[in-house]
């Protein structure tokens, strides 16, 4: 069962008896070391229950909490997730909007009132997965074909030669955890990043990788080769 942290429980109980003007003063404290500083979990509770709405407490708490959300979202979106959106400011605004929707629509005690930063992190990831799913539904390299001069269609993937199996680059990539690589991975077509994940990150055998992707082993190898080529470009 969900339970508030004792510190937040006691902050909220003390606020119940405060006058709106005093609550507003406490909301305005920005130094988190100050004893009267209100944690984000508490602000979320004030907003979700519209505490002293007519006296402006809900509004003030929203202004303060929105800035905190922006910082959490902004940090997590720092890599700009290129490939998912062209403008980082748009994605940040949409993500913040999504966080607010989640914060306001849950009944009972929300996770945002227990661990706010974790709540925001999970909502950002939900939103990124949603964008990724949208991107996936728009493109599929497996469906791409090339027409030859006689008008015959050949799957695009079959046009790429498979020269390598495991390469030294694979071993190199295993150890790389940089932001650029992670960002680039997200921008890859789904099948390429999935093969990369299954083979390089999870170290599944080729049979398993092909099974997860739903293709043959040589095709899976080709996808990995293509993803490594792109990632190598970033590393250079």
């Amino acid at each position: 069962m969900r339970k508030r942290q004792p510190k937040h429980e006691s902050q909220l109980k003390s606020l119940e008896t405060w006058k709106p003007a005093d609550v507003l003063k406490r909301i305005g404290i920005i130094d988190y070391k100050d004893d009267d500083f209100l944690d984000s979990e508490v602000l979320a509770s004030l907003i979700r229950n519209r505490m002293y709405e007519s006296a402006g407490v809900t509004t003030e708490a929203t202004i303060v909490l929105n800035k905190r959300i922006q910082i959490l979202v902004g940090k997590r979106l720092r890599l700009e997730w290129y490939g998912l959106t062209s403008r980082s400011n748009t994605i940040a605004a949409d993500t913040i909007d999504y966080v607010w929707d989640a914060l306001l629509t849950e009944e009972g005690l929300s996770n945002c009132e227990i661990y706010f930063a974790v709540f925001v992190r999970n909502r950002v990831d939900d939103y990124m997965r949603h964008l990724l799913a949208q991107k996936n539904s728009m493109e599929s390299i497996d469906k791409m074909t090339m027409d030859d001069k006689d008008g015959n269609k050949t799957p695009f993937i079959d046009m790429v030669k498979d020269n390598n199996a495991e390469t030294p680059e694979e071993a190199f990539m295993r150890t790389q955890q940089t932001l650029a690589v992670r960002s680039m991975l997200i921008s890859l077509p789904q099948v390429e990043r999935n093969v990369f994940y299954f083979r390089i990150m999870c170290r599944y055998d080729w049979g398993k990788v092909a099974e997860f992707i739903g293709c043959s082993i040589p095709t899976a190898r080709l996808h990995l080769k293509r993803s490594l080529e792109k990632l190598q470009g970033v590393m250079e």
């Binding site: 004030l46 229950n49 505490m51 929105n66 909007d97 999870c202």
Partner: protein, 205 residues
């Protein structure tokens, strides 16, 4: 806005992340092996999490964008002011659902007040300040957040109808704030033992 028809894979991923706040590679692998039909979606979720964590780990502080803050807060405020709090609405519904005197009596007993529905009526209408213990019992009984009940009672008091006064010997007196628990209990003129028991509820705050 995200489509409300959430696919099964997404529900499983959300559950998984709730159960594994810091999933390891091994956790993800076990998850994939349990649901190989959703392997692609799970792999994407793992990569999104890893990419976000890598971004979070960058030491450079994030600089607040005032223009973005203004733009997003306007939207948030309009959402908040145009919608009702789900918790407040639920609390109101629960309070309104106990109308009959027999039901009120039952609730009064359940929350520790005893068979004095008048006291409970005072609390539910916001006219009487409820002791913390009674508030906690009501919170548990109604299954709503305590803060929602506190705010509801405050609103009930603010919105309560002003009684009409007819000319009389004394000046009309309108309470500007709820009466204290002690005042409400004393006003009932109950036997000493019961009065003491009820006052004790208030002293435990």
């Amino acid at each position: 806005m995200i489509n409300k028809n959430v696919p099964e894979s997404e529900k499983l991923i959300v559950d998984f992340l709730n159960q594994h706040p810091r999933p390891t590679n091994q956790d993800w692998k076990q998850f994939i092996e349990r649901f190989p039909q959703y392997a692609s979606a799970i792999a994407d979720a793992a990569m999104v999490r890893a990419a976000g964590d890598a971004a979070d780990a960058v030491a450079k502080p994030y600089e607040l964008d005032e223009e973005l803050a203004n733009r997003t807060v306007s939207k948030a405020l309009s959402k908040i002011h145009q919608t009702t709090s789900l918790n407040l609405a639920k609390a109101k519904k629960k309070v309104e659902s106990i109308q009959k005197p027999s039901e009120r009596k039952q609730v009064a007993i359940a929350v520790g007040i005893g068979s004095y529905p008048t006291l409970l009526n005072g609390v539910l209408s916001g006219r009487t300040k409820a002791p913390s213990k009674v508030l906690d019992a009501l919170t548990a009984l109604f299954d709503v957040p305590r803060l929602a009940l506190v705010e509801l009672f405050r609103r009930q008091f603010e919105e309560s109808a002003v009684p009409a006064f007819k000319g009389g010997g004394s000046k009309p007196r309108l309470p500007v704030e709820p009466v204290s628990w002690e005042e409400a209990v004393s006003g009932l003129k109950l036997p000493e033992k019961e009065t003491e028991r009820l006052l004790k509820l208030g002293r435990e705050d």
